[in-house]
């Protein structure tokens, strides 16, 4: 344990409490519901190969058969059970969401840390690049890149991951900038710790909880964009995801035949997952830093936390 860390725990108790705050957040009903939804979807998706009632490749009932006791969510245009499709689609959709979010966080955290830690011209250059990606309409960029690369699941994951990191980079940068001025970092510098060591041992553990919140929020955007790209035919046409289920239903006349059951389960699953992640991520982020005013500049720019009882905001 370095001198800096010992001092830190005495001088600044709040800076040690990051992970504790994350656990504590789960006591709030909003966060608990969000966590419950995320956990439920993860478990159900992982178990989907065993619990799905019918095959997703063989017809088990009539074309566009409405929901019934044997087929809870009805059947799609090929007579395939929609419940089974939704379960299996969840597995791949969530895989896309999680991996794309991980790429996002890796890039965003790296750029944010480098930018905030070193400052100066590195900061200026990196932040201008971030501004560029923030301004350019991302779905359009994704469509163009995905179209040039060709449709495949890996490309969709990469495209989403490579274009969504701006929010994380900005929020991490703000945090690292303020951390850098803290006493324990200055002490670590003065006793001769190298940059890598300071970043690895002192800064990363401090921004860890923030990265968790960012990851959970990034999943919402990644899943949302996956369905959009799949709907535009840029995902792997043979993969079953929530996005391709909706696309197939749309392309094969589910709308004109009024077969809402071929669309609703996948659409609602996306909406509920996004709501859950949003509620959880937002609660953690708010709990970590109630004064995080970067939010006005972010895509998730509203704050739902109540202002009752806090000095300035309370009536």
């Amino acid at each position: 344990m370095t001198e800096g860390q010992i001092r830190q725990s005495k001088v600044d108790p709040s800076s040690r409490g990051g992970w504790w705050t994350v656990l504590n957040v789960l006591r709030q009903p909003t966060a608990a519901i969000g966590f419950g939804i995320l956990a439920f979807f993860t478990v159900i998706s992982l178990l989907s190969p065993w619990i799905k009632p019918y095959s997703t490749h063989l017809a088990s009932c009539a074309v566009f058969e409405p929901p019934s006791a044997s087929h809870w969510f009805g059947c799609d245009d090929g007579g395939i059970d929609v419940l089974s499709l939704t379960l299996e689609g969840g597995l791949i959709s969530m895989y896309v969401g999680f991996t794309a979010a991980t790429i996002t966080i890796l890039i965003g955290a790296t750029i944010g840390i480098v930018s905030g830690y070193f400052g100066g011209w590195i900061d200026t250059v990196l932040m201008r690049i971030t501004d560029y990606f923030l301004v350019v309409p991302q779905l359009v960029l994704m469509i163009v890149v995905a179209a040039v690369w060709g449709p495949s699941l890996e490309h969709v994951i990469l495209v989403i991951g490579l274009l969504l990191w701006t929010y994380t980079a900005r929020i991490v940068r703000a945090q690292v900038k303020s951390l850098r001025e803290r006493v324990f970092i200055r002490r670590a510098i003065s006793i001769g710790s190298g940059h890598l060591r300071i970043i690895w041992r002192h800064i990363l553990p401090q921004i860890g909880p923030l990265l968790v919140a960012s990851t959970v929020l990034a999943i919402t955007v990644a899943v949302f964009n996956e369905t959009a790209l799949a709907f535009l035919g840029l995902s792997d046409p043979t993969a079953i995801t929530w996005g391709t289920i909706m696309e197939h239903a749309f392309q094969r006349a589910a709308v004109s035949t009024g077969s809402w059951w071929a669309i609703v389960p996948a659409g609602l699953a996306v909406a509920i997952l996004i709501m859950g992640c949003y509620m959880l991520g937002r609660s953690i982020e708010d709990a970590l830093n109630p004064r995080l005013r970067v939010s006005y500049l972010s895509p998730y720019s509203w704050q739902l936390r109540t202002l009752v009882g806090r000095g300035k905001g309370a009536l």
């Binding site: 690369w149 669309i263 996306v270 895509p299 509203w302 704050q303 905001g313």
Partner: protein, 320 residues
């Protein structure tokens, strides 16, 4: 001095961003792996002489820098290439599509802003009540719905009541301009409604939190102490300041508006820019794809720039 400094900085950023997008457009379609000739000719097994002729026709036998220079020159002289699918100049195709996108997107955005302000302000002044919880949770739900899902639900729900596709009734002949306008407006209802539903939620949530913060300011307390009516405090004191973030909000929502518009135009077969982009992807119509990407990016960057200037005009503290 700082004033001109700020405006100058934003202007340079806008120009650089557009330039970067233009260059990215060039790099993406030409320098990526795979021969540009096979991609452009779309004939994998073309004979060497045909490839050579094609390379000369598209200027691909020149050096990369010469090609880039040619590309820039063509861009500014309006020579954006010929669409593969309908053999019309790309720029003319895009102009028609843009004319169709503009009314849907602008009406949708304006209605979403007004609705967002109304809902946001109402739930902020009724904080903690059932009405507040209801409208806030409803907003989060609408934020979470995928655009294409909402669009398809509306299509099924209004099937037979409202037109579902295109801009005009295909069986109507000899329409007078007025009838044509009415027909067009009627076809616009569902696309605009979908856009409003996907956009209003974010606006409402931002307005609500901004309003809540403003309501805690000292000058609101002063206004109450002066005995002003509740209505006057909300409208003339709180809202005027709380609505500032709306400008930033609209600028940041531009990306969401564009992606929403693309999905909506695909669902409702609306012949706008988004639909053009989608068709270009399906038909591997690279000149159209390139042109569509460029025009959307340039418009979004310019609107962002205008929003920056407007925000500065409204709140000069932004330079600090």
């Amino acid at each position: 001095m700082r004033r001109t400094g700020y405006i100058w900085k934003r202007s340079v950023f806008a120009v650089v961003t557009i330039f970067a997008a233009v260059s990215f457009n060039f790099v993406l379609f030409r320098v990526l792996p795979g021969s540009a000739i096979t991609r452009i000719s779309r004939v994998p097994n073309a004979s060497p002489s045909m490839k050579k002729a094609l390379a000369e026709q598209f200027g691909l036998d020149k050096s990369m820098w010469d090609q880039y220079w040619l590309y820039l020159k063509n861009l500014f002289t309006g020579n954006w290439g010929i669409s593969y699918s309908n053999r019309q100049p790309v720029i003319e195709n895009l102009a028609v599509a843009f004319g169709n996108t503009l009314p849907v997107v602008s009406i949708g955005t304006i209605v979403a802003i007004i609705l967002g302000i109304l809902v946001g302000v109402h739930s902020a002044v009724r904080r903690g009540t059932f009405a507040d919880h209801f409208s806030t949770n409803l907003a989060v739900l609408f934020y979470a719905f995928p655009t294409q899902f909402l669009g398809m639900m509306l299509l099924i729900f209004f099937a037979g009541v409202l037109p579902a596709a295109g801009t005009h009734d295909p069986f109507a002949f000899n329409q007078t301009p007025w009838e044509s306008f009415l027909d067009y407006s009627k076809h616009m209802i569902l696309p605009v409604l979908t856009l409003v539903l996907t956009l209003y939620a974010e606006n409402a949530l931002i307005v609500r939190s901004s309003m809540l913060e403003t309501l805690g300011e000292d000058y609101i307390l002063t206004a109450r102490a002066k005995g002003l009516s509740r209505r006057k405090i909300i409208r003339d004191y709180a809202m005027r300041n709380a609505l500032l973030p709306i400008v930033t909000m609209v600028a940041l929502a531009l990306g969401a508006i564009v992606s929403g518009a693309i999905l909506i135009e695909v669902i409702f077969s609306w012949p706008g820019i988004g639909r053009a982009l989608y068709d270009a992807v399906l038909q591997r119509d690279y000149p159209m794809l390139q042109g569509g990407f460029l025009i959307i990016t340039v418009v979004v960057v310019l609107l962002n720039y205008l929003a920056d200037l407007a925000y500065y005009k409204l709140d000069p503290r932004v330079v600090d």
